[in-house]
């Protein structure tokens, strides 16, 4: 028995070592820290929106329409970033917009992840005709641009928050399926899976207890970067008028409102875009940093 004790202590020291390097790596990467900082800030803003927002984001004030930001001539301290065409406070709208962005971004990634992981696991593990059929479906989904796909479905069913999340989820699972499948393909040739199989462990158990935990690291990288893509996708859809509908506030929607007043009132279209860019930037930096930690030589493509 002493050997066993030895082994577990080895394992323990290995995991603590790993954790230690993980911890030190956070602060090694300056861009990673920046990304984490931005992301934390955006999450806090979203959570604390009711407390920090200076105005009701939906409150119309026809006496104060299209006010410029406070530092520009004609601006007032009351509306730090100015107001839109209906006199609504831009800063408050941007603060509330972060809620929608993160909500849609994260929930649709969860939906997409669930579908994709399941299909990837099944496809990679069973192989054969199941794999063949599933992969042709993946090919079909890949050949229709995401935005096109979601636009058409939203056009048919009509936009709402829930539809938006489900539709983005249902069209974005493909990446997860491919990554999980390729990892499973190599994992299932490994000793521990073969051993489990010969010992008669049930497929369900192998899939979720042996294979799934091994794909978590690459999944975390892909999901992080997907949240970034999805936030842009949601903003694009709302910009085109097929995403979030009032009274919910979306950055893409504010931007779309501001576009009509671009020539004379630059701030309405500028600030929400800045908010999207900064948020997405933070997420990409965190995603890149995660990838460097988990697999410095990985080739996961993060296509936006």
């Amino acid at each position: 028995m002493p050997s066993l004790v030895n082994e577990t202590s080895n394992v323990k020291s290995f995991t603590t070592r790993k954790r230690k390097t993980l911890f030190s790596q956070i602060f090694k990467s300056r861009t990673g820290v920046l990304g984490l900082f931005i992301l934390t800030l955006v999450v806090l803003i979203a959570l604390l929106a009711p407390f920090i927002s200076p105005h009701d984001p939906a409150k119309v004030d026809i006496t104060a329409t299209l006010l410029p930001p406070s530092w520009v001539e004609g601006g007032s301290a009351e509306h730090l970033l100015g107001t839109d065409n209906m006199g609504r406070d831009l800063l408050s709208r941007i603060i509330y917009g972060s809620q929608i962005s993160l909500l849609v971004g994260i929930s649709s990634v969860v939906v997409a992840g669930l579908i994709g992981v399941l299909i990837g696991l099944v496809s990679g593990y069973y192989g054969g005709w199941i794999d063949n059929v599933l992969m042709r479906i993946v090919d079909a989904f890949l050949s229709i641009p995401n935005i096109l796909f979601t636009l058409v479905i939203l056009g048919i069913f009509g936009p709402s928050l829930i539809t938006l999340i489900l539709v983005i989820g249902a069209t974005n699972w493909v990446n997860y399926a491919r990554i999980v499948r390729s990892e499973v393909l190599s994992l299932k040739e490994r000793e521990f899976v073969k051993a489990a199989k010969t010992m008669g462990v049930r497929d369900f158990f192998i899939l979720f207890r042996h294979l799934l935990p091994n794909v978590v690291s690459s999944l975390s990288v892909v999901s992080t970067l997907s949240v970034a893509t999805t936030i842009i996708l949601e903003a694009s859809l709302s910009f085109l008028g097929l995403g979030i509908k009032p009274p919910d506030v979306s950055w893409g929607g504010i931007l779309s409102d501001g576009r009509d007043y671009l020539a004379t009132h630059w701030w309405v279209a500028t600030f929400p875009g800045l908010a999207i860019t900064i948020t997405v930037l933070g997420i990409i930096l965190v995603g890149d940093w995660l990838r460097d930690i988990f697999d410095p030589r990985s080739n996961i493509q993060n296509d936006i």
Binding site: T31, R136, I137, D139, A140, L142, S143, I144, P145, N146, I147, L148, F149, L151, V152, I153, G155, I156, F157, A228, I232, A235, S236, F239, L240, G241, L242, G252, L255, R259, L262, A263, W266, A269, T270, P272, G273, I276, T277, I278, V280, L281, I284, L285, D288, Q301, D303, I304
Partner: protein
Amino acid sequence: MKYFIKRLIQAVPVLFIISFIIFSLVYMAGDPVLLMLPEDAPQEDKQALREALNLDEPFHVQYMTFVGNLMQGQFGKSFTYGQEALPIVLERLPATIELAFAAIFVATIISIPFGIWSATKKDSLGDVFISGGAVLGKAMPNFWLGIMLILLFSVYLGALPVSGRGTIFHLILPAITLGTGIAAQITRLIRSNMLDILHQEYIRTARSKGLKEFLVIYKHALRNSLIPVVTIMALQTSSLIGGAIITETVFSWPGLGQLLIQAINTRDMAIVQASVFVVALLVIMMNLLADVMYRFLDPRINLK
């Protein structure tokens, strides 16, 4: 060649799945007759039109009819244009392709020198700026970038037209808008490929011949690092067209994207179906081309 034929055959089931997706979407969209006829049209007229359109048949019969028509290039009449949908879609295609090529051109001339510079001068100030700029380029939603470019070049400087198609000047802003994201991605790709390749022994061999450093980099290293870039570019057709759809809306560029958005808003399903199918076909063809090109460009892969 044999490989090419094999890939071509593989595309057939994918096209079938796409046709199924397209058909199902429209099937779920509900009764088109209500849209095609005025609301107060007599019940008999509605019923007659339904029968004429085979709408009373069960799902699978309707689908078979759809596939049959599709093979003859018929998607039905667009009720807004009163003509067959496919020619209308194909008429818009050149504008979108023009925009896509212009964007790729912009992306290429930016990303190759920048990618090489930041790889050869790794960790220099220039590299920090280029790499940072690349992340920023990925983080910016392209519709916002487009609007900001309009604000700067059209509204303030009055240098370039805001919208429409015609002269080369009309093309500049849309091409930059669509090209920036691609440029960001290729710059990152070239940088990481170059960093890897500059450590290869054949680079040392090239130097040992007395070749000028410029030739070592731009001939021996670049040729190698461009192989995956060309492939990945072709594989990005899907997101390129996705980006084009939004860019076209921002600049009122009379391409496929603009047509599609109009069709979705007016529920002109024939146009929607035809556009989705044309785009998917285009993407599949480009993916095939990517595969063939990769084999052609990299002599290590045996064509036979």
